[in-house]
Amino acid sequence: MNQLWVAIIAIIVAPIIGGFLAGIDRKITARLQGRWGPPIVQPFYDFFKLLGKSRIATSRMQFVWIYGYLVFMIASLVFLVLKLDILLLVFLLGFAGISFVLGGFSSKSPYSHFGANRELLQILSYEPVLLLMALGIYAQNGSFMISEILKPSSEPLLASLWPIFIALLVILTIKLRKSPFDIATSHHAHQELVKGIMTEYSGPYYALIQLTEWYEIVLLLGIIALFWANPLWIGILIALAAFILELFIDNIAARMTAGWMVRFSWAIGLVLCILNIAYLYLMKGV
């Protein structure tokens, strides 16, 4: 019963936190560009406005997949707050990404197809690193359970897994669709592919995508916070610092190509992860 309440509260509170983070994102970005910027609650205005718009359907399957995206994302968040298996969490996150891609492919718009192809490339770049992160946590703790990480006696993962942490920061940039990895949706470069994979979603369905993104921000920052789980508030501070760092990177970096993204995330992310895990195994002789 207790667990049920924790899950329900997380499902309600996470989008509120995520929305405010998105608002802070827009505000800080505007300040960095010498503008005043919208109010912090602007994402909520956008969300409710989109809910009130008319529904224009381009294909029916699209909407099934967009609900899948939302549900899988919520499921992985529930895995996090209930301190379950981190490997399964990564798989659920993968399912969410795939649902989004299928949603992009299910309409006939070329922009949407372009975006979906690029989203696949994004998954190709971040999924291996996330899997290796789970493996690294296993090598360190001997268990995939998040409850094991949060045990009061355990020491911070950051001490032994800092290369994986750096790889995770790269992944965070890809997942949050920030420059230089703003590839599948193009937040600002409309001239290139309109809105990429999101082009065909309008009104309430676009609001659902925003909602999912808010869940995603909270989920990813939660995973980052796990790297300093005792006491957890240090972890949360680290996660917020990582978020602010992403905003700075977003504003100083240019958009790069999709191929560059895959090469970069594999060359940096995968190598760091593999070295980290190899070192752990050699030292512990598992």
């Binding site: 910027g37 205005y45 008319s54 409309h190």
Partner: protein
């Protein structure tokens, strides 16, 4: 209806369409997004995608080619939507009004809510136009769903 109604006024996303203007008005429309005028203060974002937009900002007179595109764009914007004609050309055809290829003002093709005259319309006037459009949206009862 309260929160959705407020949100509509707080978050107008625009799409900017250039018919066949001399580019003067386009530059002024884009100037609104720069740090000097920063319309994102009011939640105005340039979306570049008709399916996400609320306000269609049109510059330049309609010619026979762009009329079709304009109709298509207008149809792709989900309701409720607003149309602003920016510049004398978009209002009436302006200096191009009796060219062989020009149909005239934007209102020959799509219904216009707000006219912003001027050659070129100044950014302050364009922002004023958007504010007027939002007031109209706020007063509109029973907007099409």
């Amino acid at each position: 209806m309260g929160i959705i109604h407020t949100s509509r006024i707080k978050s107008p996303w625009i799409i900017h369409f250039d018919n066949s203007s001399c580019n003067g008005c386009d530059i002024e429309a884009l100037a609104c997004l720069t740090p000097l005028y920063d319309v994102e203060r009011f939640g105005i974002v340039n979306m570049g995608n008709p399916k996400h937009a609320d306000v269609l900002v049109i510059t330049g007179p309609v010619n026979y080619r762009t009329a079709r595109v304009l109709k298509n764009l207008y149809a792709q914007i989900p309701d409720p939507k607003m149309v602003i004609a920016v510049g004398t050309c978009a209002c009436s055809g302006g200096v191009f009004h009796n060219c062989y290829n020009i149909l005239g003002g934007v209102d020959k093709v799509v219904p216009v809510d707000v006219y912003v005259p001027g050659c070129a319309a100044r950014p302050e006037a364009i922002i004023d136009g958007v504010v007027l459009a939002l007031q109209k949206l706020a007063q509109a009862q029973g907007v099409a769903k």
